[in-house]
C-alpha cells in the first residue's frame, strides 16, 4: 500500500471519529442544557467548547456564548477545526484522494454526510441541530459498518487505527474537562446538577445503560471514571482504544513486516493501563493522569506516521 494512501486512510478514520464525537457531545450538551436551570445551561456549552479544545478560539471570535452560537460553532463553523463540517470536509478530502482504497459503501457514507451538510448555513435551533446530529450519527455508523465489510487488510486497519487513536484522545479530553466533578472520590453524587453532568458524560460515549448494568449501586464518580478509563468492555474507554491500537498495529505489522516504535509505545501504554487501578489513578491526580495520556497518545500518533512514512 502507498504510504500516502495509508496516511489518508488513517486521517479519514480520525476525522470521521472526531465528527461523530462532536455530534455526540452536542447531543448530550443540548440534553444537559434543557435539563438544567440557568446559568448551569450555559456552563454546559462552555464545557462542550473545552472538551473540543475550542474554548479559546471561540472567545477570540468575540461572539456571545449563547447556546445557538456555540452549537453553530461546533456544527458548521469552518474556522473551528473540530466542527462537524470541518471534520467532514477533511474526511472527504482525504477519502476522495484515496477512494480506490475505500469500498464504494464507505466512500458513499462519507460523501453523503458531506453532501447533507454542504449547503447548510444555519441549523435552525435545537430541533434542527438534533436532526443534523442524528443524521450524522447514522452516517458515521454506516461508515463504520462499511469499513467492517471491507477487505481485512491494511486498508481497513489504517482506517480503524486512526479511529482508535482519535477515540482515545476524545474520551480522555471528555473526562478531563469534568475531572473536578470526580472529587471527592467515593461519594454518592449529590444534587440534580451533578447527576445530570454525569449522565451527560455517559450519554456522550453512549454508556448510560452500560453503566447501570456494570455498576448496580448507583452513580458514583469513581465508578464513572473506572468505566471510561479501565473497562475494556466499553468500546469508547481508554482501555478499549489502547487494546485496539495494539491489535491493529500487530495486524499491520504481520502483513507488512513493519514493526517498530509505534508498536513498542502502544504495548507500553497497554501494560501500564493493565497494571493501574482507578483508585491509584485518582489518588495520584486524575487530571495529571489524563494529561499524560493525551500526550502519550500524540506520541504514538507521531510514531505511527514515522513508521509508515506518512510524511
Amino acid at each position: 500500500m502507498l504510504s500516502r494512501t495509508a496516511a489518508s486512510l488513517y486521517w479519514v478514520g480520525r476525522y470521521v471519529e472526531r465528527a461523530e464525537f462532536t455530534a455526540r457531545l452536542i447531543e448530550a450538551t443540548i440534553r444537559l442544557d434543557s435539563l438544567s436551570p440557568r446559568p448551569a445551561g450555559e456552563g454546559a456549552w462552555e464545557s462542550a467548547l473545552l472538551v473540543t479544545a475550542a474554548n479559546d478560539a471561540f472567545s477570540a471570535s468575540g461572539e456571545e456564548r449563547s447556546p445557538a452560537n456555540v452549537s453553530r460553532y461546533l456544527t458548521l463553523d469552518r474556522s473551528n477545526p473540530s466542527s462537524i463540517r470541518a471534520c467532514l470536509d477533511a474526511a472527504r478530502g482525504n477519502a476522495r484522494a484515496v477512494r480506490t482504497a475505500l469500498s464504494r459503501e464507505a466512500w458513499e457514507a462519507i460523501n453523503r454526510a458531506w453532501l447533507g451538510l454542504r449547503d447548510r448555513s444555519s441549523v435552525s435551533g435545537g430541533p434542527g441541530t438534533l436532526t443534523l446530529v442524528e443524521t450524522l450519527k447514522a452516517e458515521a455508523r454506516g461508515f463504520e459498518g462499511a469499513v467492517h465489510r471491507m477487505l481485512r487488510n491494511e486498508g481497513s486497519w489504517f482506517l480503524m487505527l486512526g479511529a482508535a487513536i482519535e477515540r482515545a484522545d476524545n474520551t480522555a479530553r471528555l473526562i478531563d474537562v469534568k475531572y473536578h466533578l470526580l472529587l471527592p472520590e467515593g461519594e454518592l453524587v449529590g444534587g440534580v446538577i451533578d447527576r445530570d453532568q454525569w449522565t451527560t458524560i455517559l450519554h456522550t460515549v453512549s454508556a448510560v445503560n452500560a453503566y447501570r448494568l456494570l455498576y448496580p449501586n448507583g452513580l458514583r464518580p469513581g465508578q464513572v471514571a473506572d468505566l471510561l478509563i479501565m473497562r475494556g468492555e466499553l468500546p469508547r474507554s481508554l482501555a478499549a482504544s489502547t487494546d485496539e491500537v495494539v491489535n491493529l498495529l500487530n495486524l499491520i505489522g504481520k502483513r507488512t513486516g513493519r514493526q517498530g516504535e509505534a508498536d513498542r509505545l502502544a504495548r507500553q501504554r497497554q501494560n501500564a493501563l493493565n497494571r493501574a487501578t482507578i483508585q491509584g489513578v485518582i489518588a495520584s491526580g486524575l487530571h495529571e493522569y489524563l494529561s499524560a495520556f493525551i500526550i502519550e497518545n500524540g506520541r504514538i500518533d507521531q510514531a505511527i506516521s514515522q513508521q509508515f512514512r506518512f510524511a
Partner: protein
Amino acid sequence: MANIGTFDEIRGNDGGDAARPEFGALGRWITDTPPAELDRRQKAAEAAFRQLGITFAVYGEEESSERIIPFDIVPRVFTAPEWDRLSEGLVQRVQAINAFLSDVYGERRIIADGIVPPELVLNNPQFLPTLAGTQPPHGIFAHICGIDLVRTGPDEFYVLEDNARTPSGVSYMLENREAMLRLCPELFEMFAVRPVDTYPDLLHETLRSVAPRGSGNSPVCVVLTPGHFNSAFYEHSFLADSMGVELVEAADLHVDDDVVWMRTIEGPVRVDVIYRRIDDEYIDPLVFNPDSVLGVPGLIAAYMAGNVTLVNAPGTGVADDKAIYSYMPEIVKYYSGGEAKLPNVETYRCREPQALRYTLDNLEKLVVKLVDGSGGYGMLVGPTASKAEIETFRAALIAQPHRYIAQPTLALSTVPTLTESGVAPRHVDFRPFILSGANGVQIVPGGLTRVALREGSLVVNSSQGGGTKDSMILAGPARQSMGSGGMSQSMGGMSQSMGGGMSQSMGGMNQSLGGTSQSLGGTTRGIA
C-alpha cells in the same frame, strides 16, 4: 450538407414519431413511457452519480468546481452490423496511428516519401524531438485511443477527431450502463445488449501485455493522476479501482538509476507500467515544463532506458493534432495499403492559401478550429455565431492561418432526448475506446455518446453544456422474451448473415412475433 434533413438514429429520416423498423420496440418505449417517469429515472441516475462523486470540473468557473455531467435516460443504440463496420474502421485507423508514431519517432519513411510535409511533424509542438529514436516497449505508442465519430446518415460515419493522448470519458460509458441496468431493466429484456463491463479487465490485460521485457509474470501497473483536484479525477480513481491497481500521484513515485519506484508502507516497490493521466508537458520537470509539480523527475530517462512503459507513450500528440488529422486518409492508406474505411470530415487546412481564401469567404457556413485546441475552446461554429464572433475569428485567421483548420457544418445525427418539453431530437457524437496491446487491438462494444442538450446546438463538449447517454451495441436483432440458449445462438448467426436491406424485414417480423418459441423457431428457419 447542412441543408439535408437531419438523420435521427432511432426514428430515421422521415422526422415522424415512428422508429426505424429495427428499433420499433425502443420507439414504443419512448412514446409509451410518460415523460414524468423518464424524468424521475433520470433524476435518480443523476442523484446516484452525485452520491458516487462522478463529477468533473469546468475550468474558469468557480462555483461549479464539482458538477456532474447531465445524463440522458434515452439510450443511443447501434445495430450489430453498424457496429461491425465501425469496428473495422476503428481498428484500421488506430493501427495506422501507431504505425505513424513508430515511423515519425523512427525512420520517418512517411516524410521521406512525401506523404506528410516534414514541418507539420518536426515543427509540431506535440512532436518531442528528445524522443526521436526511442521506441516504446513492444513498439506501441497509443495504447488507448478515443476516436470521436459523427454520423450524418444510416451509413455515413465520419471521424471528427482522434484522441491519442489521454482520452477520457470511459468511466461514463461504464457508469451510464450501470444506471440504465438499474433504472430501465425492460430495455435489456427488449434488446440483447453487449456488455461493456469487460473494459477494466481488457485495459489491465493491455497494460500488462506492454510491460518492459524482463518485468516477470506479474508486472506492477499503476494509474498516475495529477491529483483529486483534476477534472477527471473520478475516472482515474475509478479505473485504478476497477483494475485493482494503485492510484499514484507524482509524489508517490521516484526514479533511481533509471528505474521507477513507488513509496509504500512496506518500502519501495518497482513500477513497470504507468497508465498516466498527466499531459506530456507536465510529466517530467527535468525534460519538459520545469515548474511542473505534477511530474516525476527522471521519468522520461527511465522510459528511454526501456525500464518503464508509459501508457500512452509520450509524444503521441503529434498523431492527433488537428493539422495532422487532415492527412489521416493518406496516412491510413500509406500504412494499411487500403482506403480508410472511416472517412474524415472534409477539412480545409488554412495554412494552404487556397483553403484559407475559401474559409474566409465562407466563415458563416464553416466550423473553424484551433489546430491545438481541445474541449470546445477556441472554436467557431459559423452558422450559430454572431457577426462579432465571426469577425474576431476572421482577424485571428488572417494573423495566424497555420493555427486553424475549417470544416463544413455537418448535419449531425440526432437521438431522441428528454428535454423540458418532452422527448425531442438532440445532436450527438460518439467516442469509442480502442485498446492496443502486445496481443492486438480490442474494442469494448460501447463508448461515450455525448449529446448537445440545447436545441439545435452542435457542441457536445461537457464543458459547454453537453450531456451523455448510454450507448448500446446490440448483439443481434431484438430479443424475444422466451429466447433459449440455442435460439439466441441461431439469432446471432442470422444477424451476421443479414445485410442492411434485410434488417427492415426483421423489424417487421419482430412485431408479429408473439414470443412463443414455436413461431420464432419457424421464422428463424424461414430466414435461414
